[in-house]
Amino acid sequence: MERRDFVVRFAGEGGQGVVTAAEFLARAAATVGYHVMTFATFPSQIKGGPTYTQVRISTDPVLSSGDEIDVLVALNLEAYNNHKAEVREDGVVMYDTVFEIDAETRALGVPIEVLAKEAGEARSANMVILGALAHLVNMPKEYFQDFVAERFKGRDKVVDFNTKALELGRLHAATSEFQLGSLMAPIRPEGKQILIKGNDALSIGALQAGVDYYVGYPISPATPIFIFMEKNLVGPGRFAYQATSEIESITAIIGAGYAGKKAMTATAGPGFTLMSEGLGLAWMAEIPCVVVDVQRGGPATGLPTKTEQSDFQTALHPAHGDSKLPVIAPGTIEECFYSAIHAFNWAERYQGPVILLSEHMMAERSQNIPMPDLDLVPPETRETYTGDNGYLRYDGAELSAMPIPGSPGAYVANGSEHDSYGDTTHLAERHVQMTERRFGKLKLLEDGHYESEGTDSPIAIMPWGGSKGPGREAWEALIASGQSIGWYYTMFLHPLPAKLLEELLQKELVIVPELNYLGQFSSYLRTYGIRAESITQYTGLPFKVSVLEERITKRVEAHGRGVVRV
């Protein structure tokens, strides 16, 4: 049997090298030309605690991390017990023979450490596993051998023991009768590919946008962005720095944005909440800045290492008073890169704060994507004032050029309601004018692009953020099975692209798969009069494609019976 797709889950205890093994497999497979996606979930501790990483390898672009497991690599008994239920019927459990299992399932015991030592080095344990995996899907042994030879080029000893370990693992698996068919040869994607995590893609996207000021505070799962900036955002005119709190982060980037910098911080739910008042100031005083919220489970400390899409409403309305912040949410690793440029462009264009909503599931996963096109989204820079001193910074009903300290045009950027000078005022007419001015500027951001397919259907699905992948995979399956459902998607959540809004208003039903209890995005769509409904999930895990297919089908059927709202 030929297979296009193969899902492996490595499960064990934190510190057992689960992530390393999975990342190595992903890199090896991607190097050969397969499409890969990893999915990691782990406890909030460094050593110990149950952890797993899943790798999906495919001949086609991968949209989700895979519903069922073909091979479970269990590194301890607990991992076996926790995950065995998710192994497909014809799947295999590969386990380390240092422990015993009650082998009701198809199980292949591998003396991992023994074989690794036989290969000449205990550290080659992962290669033993990869060798055995290669046998299970009948993968030519050269694939991993060539990868090892390339990766450890010039270190003959390392190449030698790793190659031996691969072979010992392969031979050991061959002693069993298990095989999962043959994984088809890869169809190498055209053009240069990179294997990258969402947080890294987003960070480099920000650099491409021209970020030159970053202040952050450690918080999962946003810390890698902070670390990236500390390491790379250095040199004359640039600044990356560790704050003492998220309150300090937000107010510092506001000061920098005011001083003419492209300023950014990245955080997660708890930190984002602390930024509320500051974000109101940036909106009020019209100061460009970008705040990344890499969503995790909430509220409070919540689920720091799990995925959720439950910060949307908070991102929209983080501050008290009348404000509604622009929100962009990438849905793929590729979009993590481009959305960072869009976020800065929006901040510069409308002169205010922009929220970039990422998610744990994208932040921490690796995926192959085409090398980003650096000409696709040209970076924008705010319109700056170039006249003399005595400028009316906040004059009129629309955006006005922004003076930068160190040049004429001095004014007071004021968080209190203000007049054209930036002086505090309590006049009713001024509050009306300024409120309308601030909201009016959002018009400048309504030209975002969006995806639409099957637009003839009165029913559509419209996932957002990281639910795009599983949503798309489910939609494709439903279309293939003959259902008539439209597809809409955009990363520009607020303001929505004006044309998209028009199209959605025509629909009888817009189904929004999203990872939160409240149905936050559909309730937002309903405020515009769109007949939107959510399919929610709040497990801390992404959607399974099969679950989405079932739930969408059910809702569509109900619609056919005349059910308006479930």
Partner: protein, 290 residues
């Protein structure tokens, strides 16, 4: 803009100490401009929330420096943003003791550790004026206010001692009634390459009038609390500065100035830049190529 702006409706109470502070700051900034040749728009005033922060609006026309009138308690991190974004700018924080020492206190020690090159002018009146007279950190123990109707329970904060103990590299004390002297101190603070704080006794004539206590009264036989720091005081001697801060009375002058003060932006140039090799975006992406 402001004083002549008909829409601007904020006024300090007659006799407020903050008038003197504003005058002193105008003189100091003007004097610094003449001395350095820097235009007025190279100055950024980061103002706190409270009566004192309104100082930032009280400039006129051509003399208007840049300003941020932000949110309560966050002058210091906003100043961190401005200064580290543009180290060439002269950044001045103006705030009251409520804003700076209560809600904003958490930001003082980090700025001292960083030695952020800014000048802070604290208008200390021992009370929250704009919210009509509540107890503030520097108010004395047992003081009766509307938020402490049975007397304040906490010991009053000694701001000078606090600033010294967390490592502020320039600490001075001033009185709003002597703007000329204060302007001179402000000039010295702005020239100091590091984190400078001038704590100004700026009495609130409405809710906590301390003028008499500060200046004394011959008629009533009250000795003035204010005194000039003796000329033989060595401001580089931290222990001597601490003794002044802890002693009775309100000193006027420079308590402490670190001799070899290296500000944050200079530390970055000296220690980080030599270690760093810049990479372009294509080079960064290349590192992820399969």
């Amino acid at each position: 803009m402001s004083a002549k702006n008909p829409e601007y409706d904020f006024k300090w109470c007659p006799g407020c100490g903050d008038f003197g502070v504003r005058r002193a700051l105008e003189w100091a900034v003007e004097e610094r401009g003449e001395r350095t040749g820097e235009p007025i728009y190279n100055n950024v005033i980061v103002a706190g929330i409270g009566c004192s922060g309104n100082l930032v609006h009280l400039y006129e026309g051509e003399q208007q420096p840049y300003g941020i009138h932000g949110i309560h308690g966050r002058t210091l991190p906003i100043a961190l943003g401005v200064k580290m974004g543009r180290p060439d700018l002269n950044v001045i924080v103006v705030a009251g003791d409520g804003d700076f020492l209560s809600i904003g206190q958490e930001h003082i020690a980090p700025q001292a550790a960083r030695n952020l090159d800014i000048t802070c002018v604290i208008m200390d009146n021992g009370v929250y004026g704009l919210t009509k007279g509540q107890s503030s950190p520097t108010g004395e123990q047992n003081m009766v206010t509307n938020s402490t109707p049975y007397g304040k329970l906490e010991v009053g904060l000694n701001p000078l001692q606090f600033f010294l103990s967390v490592g502020v590299s320039f600490v001075a004390s001033a009185f709003s009634g002597k703007p000329r002297d204060m302007a001179k101190l402000m000039g010295q603070a702005m020239d100091h390459p590091g984190f400078s704080i001038i704590n100004v006794q700026s009495p609130c004539t409405t809710y906590n009038d301390t003028f008499e206590m500060l200046k004394g009264s011959k008629n009533k036989g009250i000795e003035p609390a204010l005194y000039d720091i003796p000329e033989d005081h060595d401001p580089t001697d931290w222990n001597a500065a601490l003794e002044i801060a802890r002693a009775d009375g309100v000193p006027v002058g420079i308590l402490y100035q670190e001799q070899y003060s290296q500000p944050l932006h200079q530390r970055i140039i000296d220690t980080i830049h030599p270690q760093f090799q810049a990479k372009t975006v294509p080079e960064m992406l290349e590192a992820f190529v399969l």
